[in-house]
Point group: C2
Chain length 317, copies 2
């Protein structure tokens, strides 16, 4: 799996996907990993272009992430936020001082016409990230969350209202017109591609909007490498975020079975947690690998990454 | 002078003018002082609208200024700048983390169509400033510095090149079309106005661009209150900034006499330092008050403010 020239592609939302990507980056040779990241959480706040998932992946791979929260930077200071509050500014979305540099510099470069992908690549280089981090598209895609009180922009739902509103459905504004990142297409069609790993991310609002961009589902179906998802649901709960709640709101019992149902025929393999071992035989379609999937630290994410790569090697091409 | 209902108008650039304004604010009743501030140093940096003189005046009046430098905020942190440097961003203009909140919030509100004056008033209110702080205009004015190597934007001259290039002259882009802040016009025409104080600011690049806006010179000539300047030149040197160097580059000996020459018939009075006492008799035109003009701390700026107000009371209307 990790021989020279072999390549791995990961699809990621925020914290869970980022942690698995870091595990993969740690066990693979430098440069073997490409991570395609959701951009439908991106929004403009305080006039700044914020890309939460991209930044979480970048910070995690660069080892500058806040390990407690899984997002934001370690050794962060909050002077800006305190001063903004004093001025009466909007403070529901917390921006640390170091984190802010990324948003200010990205906004400046976007305004000059630079592409999100090029800016991300430049930031990653400066932060010493050797994996390739790709926004799934350079175009704007925006997740909208339908609730009984009306439609909410994603960060309003996610941060401002702390995922409390009931979700009735999702729209991905701009997805149909968005152009898939050409480097992602190239990665999918690379004959050296060994496996595509869909991280333990939210299938509805992290991976869903990526799959809504024309070309990605087709590319995954077409590519000769196996496509493996790691279930974000462990013992009926999401490790982080509202995936389990969203399932219940759809009338679906949160489980790896529901994850398999969500991805359908895209999947060749599904990695589920030991705690869900009994579910394995109920899942039709993908091959199942049962292992420890909770990533609390460096060792656990590396071990999971190795398990995923070993599983991929066993799957038929 | 300080009876209820009486009003004082100060014109200010950065540090020197801000310190005198703070002295005036401290010895006058709350609300008696209006400070009109140069905006021709304003520029867009990293995509953010930065108003150095306005912020220096606001921070000084709010008692949150860095007393060492005279600009920026006290108890500042610099995490943003370190992170920006890591990303390869432009770092020649140093923005502290708390300071940044002002620029981000101002930029956001300007983009929504709010006026600079209204934004400044809102910030001052939040920071507990009881004096009225007015940008001399809501319109864009930009000082351009002619040098032997070509014309420089002001902050390039001032910060990036540390005032090292020889100055051949100045242009104030936008000044002729700019509209004087209507509240400044109202202050000039207020029958309760007791005195106009031109702070110890640079006559060429702080007060000059203000006077280049149609209506201010006329208003100063017309207003019944005496107009008093405090010399920024003490013993042949500027306390801060390039005023003395600019004079020498014009072939003028830096002195209070040169300040009187620069303001000409606008002035009813000029306050000069003890060290320049011998110059008093060479100055034709304005009445002269000789006193200690160096403001190293709170007591000195209050005493100077009191001297200026006492001097004004002696001048004919």
């Amino acid at each position: 799996m990790t021989g020279s020239g072999r390549r791995v592609l990961a699809l990621s939302g925020g914290v869970g996907g980022a942690r698995l990507a870091k595990g993969l980056a740690d066990v693979l040779p430098a440069g073997a990993l490409t991570v395609a990241v959701n951009v439908a959480d991106d929004f403009v706040h305080l006039g700044l272009a914020i890309s939460p998932d991209l930044d979480t992946v970048m910070y995690t791979l660069a080892d500058v992430v806040n390990a407690e929260t899984g997002w934001g930077r370690k050794d962060e200071s909050w002077t800006f936020m305190a001063a903004l509050e004093q001025l009466g500014g909007e403070c529901w979305f917390r921006l640390g001082d170091a984190d802010l540099a990324v948003h200010v510099e990205r906004t400046r470069r976007l305004a000059l016409g630079e592409k999100l992908g090029a800016i991300t690549a430049s930031f990653c280089r400066r932060l010493g990230v050797t994996s390739e981090v790709l926004p799934v598209s350079d175009d704007k895609v925006a997740t909208m969350v339908a609730t009984p009180e009306g439609e909410l922009a994603f960060q309003d739902y996610f941060v401002r209202y702390r995922c409390e509103p009931e979700t009735l459905g999702f729209r991905f504004l701009g997805a149909e017109a968005a152009r898939l990142n050409p480097r992602l297409l190239a990665a999918l069609d690379d004959p050296a591609l060994d496996v595509v790993v869909i991280g333990p991310s939210n299938p509805f609002v992290s991976i869903g909007p990526m799959l809504a961009i024309p070309g990605l589902s087709d590319g995954l179906m077409r590519c000769r490498a196996p496509v493996i998802a790691v279930s974000p649901i462990i013992g009926g709960r999401a490790v982080k975020g509202p995936a389990a709640k969203m399932m219940r709101e759809r009338g679906i019992e949160p489980s790896p079975l529901a994850i398999a149902g969500e991805y359908g025929s895209l999947l060749d393999g599904l990695v589920i947690d030991e705690i869900d071992r009994a579910e394995a035989e109920r899942i039709r379609g993908p091959r199942i690998r049962v292992t420890e999937t909770l990533m609390r630290g460096e060792n656990e994410r590396r071990r999971l990454a190795q398990d995923v790569l070993a599983f991929a090697a066993e799957l038929p091409r």
